[in-house]
C-alpha cells in the first residue's frame, strides 16, 4: 500500500443523540440533533461544511436524505451503505477526501430510525429464498456460541456464564451513561435465567433495538488546532471485505471471524501498534451478541485463541480493567441503529481521549479502537478504526 491515514486527519467536533425507542423523534430529528451538537462542539456553522458522507441502511435513500434534513446548500453528499460498518465507512470516506486535499472541513453522519421499520429485531439479511431462511441474526451468532463451547471444552453452563459476564459488564458501564438506551444493572443470575432467543443465547445476550444518530466533523491535521486545543487524530481506518468463505467451504470453524482479525491486523500496522493489549487503551467493539464480543477479543488479538474466558474472569475488559471494552455500554446498551453505531463508538473514544466521559472516564487513555462486524459471522464485512491524541 502506498499510503497511510495516520495523523493526517483530525476529528474536531462530534455529536450523538440519546439512543432508545425514540417514538417522538423522526429521522430528521436524529440527524439534526447529532449534527448540531457536533457544530457546537467544533465551534463551526453549517456553512463551513464542504461535503458530507452519511451512513444508513434503512432510513436514508441517497445523499439527499442528509442534505434535506440539514438544509445543506448545494454541497456534495454521498450515502454510504456498508452493512454495520456504514457509519465507520462514512468516516473513512470523509477522512480520505480530507487527506487527499480536496476539502478542508467535512461531515460524517450515521443514523437509523429502526423503530419506524416495524421490526422488533434486525432481520436476517441473507434470506434470499425460504430454503435459506433458517437465519435470524440471533440464530447465526448462536451457532457460533455452540461451536465455541464445543471446541474449547466449555459445558453450556460454563459457556453461558462466560457470556453473561460480558453483558453484566456492559450494563454496568451503560448504567453510567445518560445517552444509553438500556441503563439497568444486571446480575449473572438474571442473564442466565432470561428467556432463550436462540439457544444458547438468551435475551440479555442480545443487544437492544434502538433509534439513534451520531456525527463527526473532520479536518486536516494541519488545521485541527485552529478549532480546538484537543483534537482527536485518526490513526487507522481499515475495512475488510469477505469472499463469504464460511458459507461455502467446510474449512471455516465458526469460532473466529477472519475478517475481524484481518481488519484489526491491518489497522495495527497502519497505526504502528505491535502489542494491542498493552497499547490500546480502550475498545468499542461490535457486541451485537455476547458471543460476538467474546470472539472479537480473540480476533483483535487482545486474548489468545480459546482463552478469552480467562481474561473475562480476570476482569480485563471491565471499566477499571487493563483494557476497558464498551466503556459507554456498547451495542448491548445502545442497541444497534445500524448507520449510527460506528460513529457512536468513535464518539465515546473521542470523549474519553478528551477527558469528558464523566463517571465512565478511563484514566489517561492514549489510543482507542472501534470495530464493526456487518452481516453474518461466516460472511462478514468488518471495520476497525483507531483514534488517539
Amino acid at each position: 500500500m502506498a499510503g497511510s491515514i495516520k495523523d493526517r486527519v483530525a476529528i474536531i467536533g462530534m455529536g450523538c443523540t440519546r439512543f432508545g425507542e425514540l417514538w417522538d423523534k423522526g429521522p430528521t430529528d436524529l440527524v439534526v440533533d447529532s449534527v448540531e451538537e457536533a457544530y457546537t462542539d467544533a465551534g463551526i456553522e453549517a456553512k463551513d461544511i464542504e461535503a458530507l458522507w452519511g451512513g444508513s441502511i434503512f432510513t436514508a435513500h441517497g445523499g439527499r436524505f442528509f442534505t434535506e434534513a440539514l438544509r445543506m446548500q448545494y454541497i456534495p453528499a454521498t450515502h454510504v451503505v456498508n452493512a454495520c460498518a456504514s457509519g465507520q465507512d462514512a468516516i473513512r470516506n470523509a477522512a480520505y477526501a480530507v487527506a487527499a486535499g480536496i476539502y478542508d472541513i467535512v461531515l460524517a453522519i450515521g443514523v437509523e430510525k429502526i423503530k419506524d421499520e416495524g421490526m422488533s429485531g434486525l432481520p436476517g439479511m441473507d434470506n434470499r429464498t425460504h430454503t435459506h431462511a433458517v437465519a435470524t441474526m440471533p440464530g447465526v451468532f448462536a451457532i457460533m456460541a455452540t461451536k465455541y463451547f464445543h471446541r474449547y471444552g466449555l459445558t453450556p453452563e460454563e459457556g453461558k456464564t462466560m457470556l453473561a459476564k460480558i453483558s453484566v459488564k456492559s450494563h454496568a458501564n451503560g448504567s453510567l451513561n445518560p445517552k444509553a438506551h438500556l441503563r439497568n444493572v444486571l446480575t449473572i443470575e438474571r442473564v442466565l435465567n432470561a428467556p432463550i432467543i436462540a439457544w444458547p443465547l438468551g435475551l440479555f445476550d442480545c443487544c437492544g433495538v434502538s433509534d439513534g444518530g451520531a456525527a463527526a466533523i473532520l479536518t486536516s491535521a494541519e488545521r485541527a488546532k485552529e478549532f480546538r486545543k484537543d483534537p482527536v487524530y485518526i490513526k487507522a481506518l481499515q475495512i475488510c471485505g469477505t469472499p463469504s468463505s464460511g458459507r461455502i467451504t467446510t474449512d471455516y470453524d465458526y469460532t473466529h471471524v477472519e475478517e475481524s482479525y484481518r481488519a484489526g491486523a491491518a489497522a495495527y500496522r497502519e497505526a504502528g501498534v505491535t502489542d494491542p493489549l498493552k497499547e490500546i487503551s480502550m475498545a468499542e467493539v461490535h457486541d451485537c451478541f455476547s458471543i460476538t464480543e467474546a470472539v472479537t477479543m480473540e480476533d483483535l488479538q487482545f486474548s489468545p485463541r480459546g482463552k478469552v474466558k480467562d481474561d473475562i474472569d480476570a476482569g480485563t475488559f471491565e471499566l477499571n480493567g487493563e483494557l476497558p471494552v464498551q466503556p459507554d455500554g456498547g451495542l448491548k446498551c445502545f442497541g444497534h441503529p445500524i448507520g449510527a453505531s460506528g460513529i457512536r463508538m468513535v464518539y465515546e473514544l473521542y470523549l474519553q481521549l478528551q477527558g469528558r466521559a464523566d463517571k465512565r472516564q478511563i484514566k489517561d487513555p492514549k489510543l482507542g479502537l472501534a470495530h464493526n462486524l456487518g452481516h453474518e459471522p461466516y460472511a462478514p464485512l468488518c471495520s476497525v478504526c483507531i483514534v488517539g491524541l
Binding site: V134, T136, G139, I143, P200, Y252
Partner: protein
Amino acid sequence: MTQPAPASPVYWRFNPEVFRLIGIKCNDCGHISYPRTKICHECGSLNLEEYKLAKKGTVHTYCVNWAPPPNFEPPITPVIVDLESGGRYQGLMTETATPEDVKVNSKVEMVLRKLTTDRGLNVYGYKFRLVEED
C-alpha cells in the same frame, strides 16, 4: 429483507441447487463449493463443473431458535452440516423428539419436507433427520 413469492423465477433458477443438490467442483484444484459459485473460492479458476452432493453429513454446529424468521413456528433447529461429499449445507432439523437430541458431530441425512407456507403456496426443500451411527 422481503422474500420473493414462492412461485417467482428465483425459485425456478435455484431448483438444481435446492432440489438436486448441485454444487460445483473446481477442475483445477478440486475444491467443492455449495451453494454454487462462478469463481473457485480456493484458486480463482473459472474452470468449474457441476458436482452432486451427498445427502448425508455431520452437524458442524447448530442452535435452537425460539424467534425464527416469519412463516416458521418456534422452535426451529438450524444446523450447519458438512456433507460426506464435501460442501456445507445450512438447513433445519426435523423429526427430533426435543431439540436437545441434536449435538455437534451428530450424523444426519436429508429428507424432502414442506418447509413453510407463504402467500398460500407450499414451499418444499430438504431438512435433516438424525441417523444411527454405523
